[in-house]
């Protein structure tokens, strides 16, 4: 058994952040796919508080919550750094990572909603993307500067999955002409070799989102 093991799910954005970090650091690991509809005993054992993936197990000890796992990876394997050296820039990275975490419910809700409510949530979601572009990314190549970093990995779902999500949801959030810098960042992000080689098949992902969307919108409103 390898020193590092990852419990994950192929469709999980959170899991992919960790995979990307491990790949960039060149860390070898064993991967176990969790069936999210039928969680294993391992998951309860290693993550008793939240019982969710990803879980990183390193030398028998478990790390949970993707952002905490990313900070751990950065500290244990400091080569190919994913956080800037300067404390102020590190604070900026952590600020934007937390901002996204705080705003994630808006995107989940937009994906589940229909009609007027969805339009309203789409507007809120677009404002979040605008803030990320204008105040977070600004004129930089990546959120973390010249190279990709933890902020980019945490925002990576915008590059890899938002277009598929919005196709399934039927209301667009990100388009080349409305958030051009964010759109350009998305293209650059997906071109990074460790990212490009570790994204699930787009057709499979689109089918997954469409299936989710059908489930959410088929349920009665109450």
């Amino acid at each position: 058994m390898k020193e590092v093991r990852l419990l994950g799910a192929w469709s999980s954005v959170y899991c992919h952040r960790v995979i990307w970090a491990l790949k960039i650091k060149g860390v070898d690991y064993d991967y176990s796919e969790e069936d999210l509809q039928n969680k294993s005993n391992d998951l309860s054992r290693y993550n008793p508080v939240y019982q969710r993936i990803p879980v990183l197990i390193h030398n028998g000890k478990s790390l949970v919550e993707s952002i905490i796992i990313l900070e751990y990876i950065e500290e244990v394997w400091p080569h190919n750094p994913l956080l800037p050296a300067d404390p102020y820039e590190r604070a900026e990275a952590r600020f934007w990572i937390k901002y996204l975490e705080d705003k994630s419910p808006t995107f989940y809700s937009y994906f589940r909603a229909t009609g007027e409510e969805q339009e309203k949530l789409a507007t809120e979601a677009k404002d979040v993307l605008k803030t990320l572009e204008e105040k977070g990314l600004r004129e930089k190549t990546f959120f973390d500067g010249k190279q990709i970093g933890l902020t980019d990995l945490c925002l990576g779902w915008i590059a890899c999955w938002l277009e598929l999500m919005q196709e399934a949801a039927g209301v667009k959030l990100l388009e080349p002409d409305n958030l051009s810098r964010l759109h350009a960042w998305s293209r650059r992000f997906k071109d990074v070799p460790e990212i490009k080689d570790n994204i699930p098949d787009e057709d499979k992902m689109l089918a997954y989102f469409k299936g989710l969307r059908e489930r959410f919108t088929a349920s009665p409103a109450s």
Binding site: I69, Y72, R90, F95
Partner: protein, 221 residues
């Protein structure tokens, strides 16, 4: 207007601000405090320095703002790394500290809000959730003197400010936290024996008066 090297946009009753005050005191950092009145509209300075969230605390160091209390705590720990580390040295222990700080951050404020900012049936439900939450934290503390182990650390800094609101919760909710969570109270009193903590937290009865005024502002009373 010339500012000191370190300025804190602060509010005396705010638990998130208290975290930063404790951290700066731990590190022996000299700073200027600029008070934001939570009962009044937000100041121009706050809106300028934290345009995204418009919330305190904001730490201004060499004219650059750092926002979000947990981000500020880690920044303070990294910049003034010569003394009293907040986070442990070992990466696994650091991950554990971050996990519990994050857990407290996700759940505690909203849980307490359902006690101090509600009444009637809603408050009764809130009280039960409050006790369950602090009982769970009490289990995590176990028999350790601090959440960090033998030394006062990051998780203690993140949680202890809520203790300054306990009199307000107990009076408004008509319950005694010590009856359900004696170890949490013992831990809190232990923390309060530290000068850096005691000098950073406000008087509990003053907080109660503030909460009454805040309830009026929110339209609860």
């Amino acid at each position: 207007m010339a500012m000191k090297e370190v300025v804190l946009l602060d509010s005396w009753a705010c638990p998130f601000s208290m975290r930063v005050r404790i951290a700066l005191a731990q590190k022996g950092v000299d700073y200027e405090s600029k008070e934001e009145d939570l009962l009044l509209p937000k100041s121009e300075l706050l809106l300028k320095l934290n345009p995204v969230h418009k919330k305190i605390p904001v730490l201004i160091h060499n004219d650059r703002p750092v926002c979000e209390s947990l981000v500020i705590l880690q920044y303070v720990d990294e910049v003034w790394n010569h003394t009293n580390p907040l986070l442990p040295f070992d990466p696994y222990q650091r991950a554990q500290a971050r996990f519990w700080a994050d857990f407290i951050e996700k759940k505690t404020f909203e849980t307490t809000q359902r006690v101090w900012a509600t009444k009637g049936e809603e408050q009764e439900v809130g009280k039960k959730e409050f006790i369950d939450h602090f009982k769970f934290l009490e289990q995590q503390l176990g028999d350790k003197p601090y959440f960090g182990g033998d030394s006062f650390g990051y998780v203690d800094v993140v949680l202890i400010p809520f203790y300054s609101w306990f009199y307000a919760f107990e009076t408004l909710g008509d319950f005694k936290i010590e009856e359900s969570c004696p170890k949490i109270i013992a831990w809190a009193k232990r923390c309060m024996q530290k000068e850096n903590v005691a000098s950073s937290l406000p008087d509990q009865e003053k907080v109660y008066e503030f909460v009454l005024a805040y309830r009026k502002k929110l339209g609860v009373d």
